[in-house]
Symmetry: C2
C-alpha cells in the first residue's frame, strides 16, 4: 500500500522505516528534506522524500506525525484535495513547551487537536491513534511486556477505524486495541499525555505504557 507520512521526526521516521520493512511504498513529507538524508540512507534508499503536498498526494493512507503545534499548518500545505476521502492516522498531540517541562496542552477538555483536524477537513477520515506511546513501541508492541498493553483508537468513521485496527493487528502485532468512540474521544487520549510525560520523567525512559485492566 502507498503511505504518505507528514513529518520528519522520530515518529515519522520510525513508522516510515517499519512500513518500508513491511513492503509498503512510503513517502515522507517535510519542509526540511536535508534532515532526512541520513535516515533515507539507513532504510536503503527505499523511502521517497517530498513536500507535505507530494507525500499527501502519494499516499492511499496518510499519517500525521508532525508536532502538534505544526499539524494544522502541515495539513494545509498538504492540500485538502489530497486528504479528502483518505484515512488520516493522526498521532499529533497538542503539546505546548513554551512554559518549560512538563508541557501543557494548547487545546484540551472541551476540544482536541483530533477534532480540530476533523472539523477542518470534514472529508478526511481522521483516525486518532498511536498518540499515547513512544514511537519504538508503536511499531513493535511485543518488545514491552510481550505486548500486554493497550492502544486507544477513535474517529468518526467506523469502517476507517476497523481497517486501521486490522492493519495494526496483522502488520504490527497489536493485540489490545480499544475503540473509544467518535473523534471527541481524542480529548481523553490527548489528555493522557501529561501523565505519560510525568511517568517518562520519573522512570527515565519513554518505554512506559498503559494497560487497561478489566
Amino acid at each position: 500500500m502507498k503511505f504518505g507520512i507528514l513529518g520528519s521526526g522520530m515518529v515519522a521516521t520510525t513508522i516510515g522505516a517499519k512500513l518500508i520493512e513491511l513492503g509498503h511504498e512510503v513517502m515522507l513529507g517535510t519542509r526540511s528534506p536535508d534532515k532526512l538524508r541520513d535516515w533515507a540512507a539507513q532504510v536503503g534508499g527505499k523511502a521517497q522524500i517530498g513536500s507535505f503536498e507530494a507525500a499527501a498526494r502519494h499516499g492511499d493512507w496518510l499519517v500525521n506525525a508532525t508536532s502538534g503545534s505544526g499539524a494544522l499548518e502541515a495539513l494545509k500545505l498538504a492540500g485538502e484535495a489530497n486528504l479528502n476521502g483518505k484515512i488520516l492516522i493522526d498521532i499529533s498531540n497538542p503539546l505546548d513547551f513554551s512554559q518549560g517541562m512538563p508541557p501543557t496542552l494548547f487545546v484540551c477538555n472541551t476540544d482536541s487537536l483530533g477534532e480540530q483536524i476533523q472539523r477542518t477537513y470534514p472529508q478526511a477520515k481522521v483516525v486518532k491513534t498511536f498518540n499515547t506511546l513512544t514511537a519504538a513501541l508503536m511499531v513493535d508492541p511485543q518488545s514491552l511486556s510481550e505486548g500486554e498493553h493497550t492502544l486507544f483508537i477513535c474517529g468518526d468513521d467506523p469502517d476507517a477505524k476497523a481497517q486501521v485496527i486490522e492493519f495494526l493487528s496483522s502488520e504490527m502485532g497489536w493485540r489490545d486495541v480499544i475503540d473509544l468512540g467518535d473523534i471527541s474521544s481524542a480529548r481523553a487520549t490527548e489528555m493522557l499525555l501529561p501523565l505519560w510525560i510525568r511517568l517518562y520523567m520519573k522512570f527515565g525512559t519513554p518505554r512506559v505504557q498503559f494497560k487497561i485492566v478489566r
Copy 2:
C-alpha cells in the same frame, strides 16, 4: 487510628466501611446525616456521623471524599484549624456534569483541584490518591486481576506520602503505587478522568483500571 472522612457518597461510605473493618475509629462528616442512616446500620453502628467540622476535628488523618464541585466548600466548613498539620487524602475530581455526559473538568492543564486545596490550606499535608479508580477497587485492589494494576499518588510532603503508601500497602493490599511527585502532578491524574469515564461507558462497568507497564 482516627479517621475523619468528608463526604457521604459511595467513596466515603466504601472507605469508611473498610476502615471500620480494619479496626479504625471512623467519623463521616456530611451535611445530610439522614442519608447515612442505612449505611450506619450496615456497619453495625460502629461509624460515627457528624458535621464536616466534627469529622475533621475527630480525625488524625482526613479523607476528602466529597464531589469535586463541593470540595473547597466542605473543607471550609471543616475548618482550617482542624486540617492543619494533618494528612489530608484528597480523592476528589473536578468533574463538571453541567453539560451532560461525559463530564468535562472545571480545572485542568495548568492547575488542579489538588493544588487548589493545597494552596488554600498550606499547612494541611495534601496527598492526592485514589482519584483514578472506582471505590470498590480502592479498598480491595486484589479483586481485579489479582491486584495487577497501578495507583498514583502525589503531594508536596514526602513523609506524608510515605506514610500513606505504607498504610495502603499494609492495610489494603496495594502493591503498585507510583509516586508522581509534588502536588502539581494532580493535574496529570485528574486529567485521566475523561479517559476513565469513557472506558466506564464503553465497558459498562467501573471496574476498569490502569496498569503502568514498564
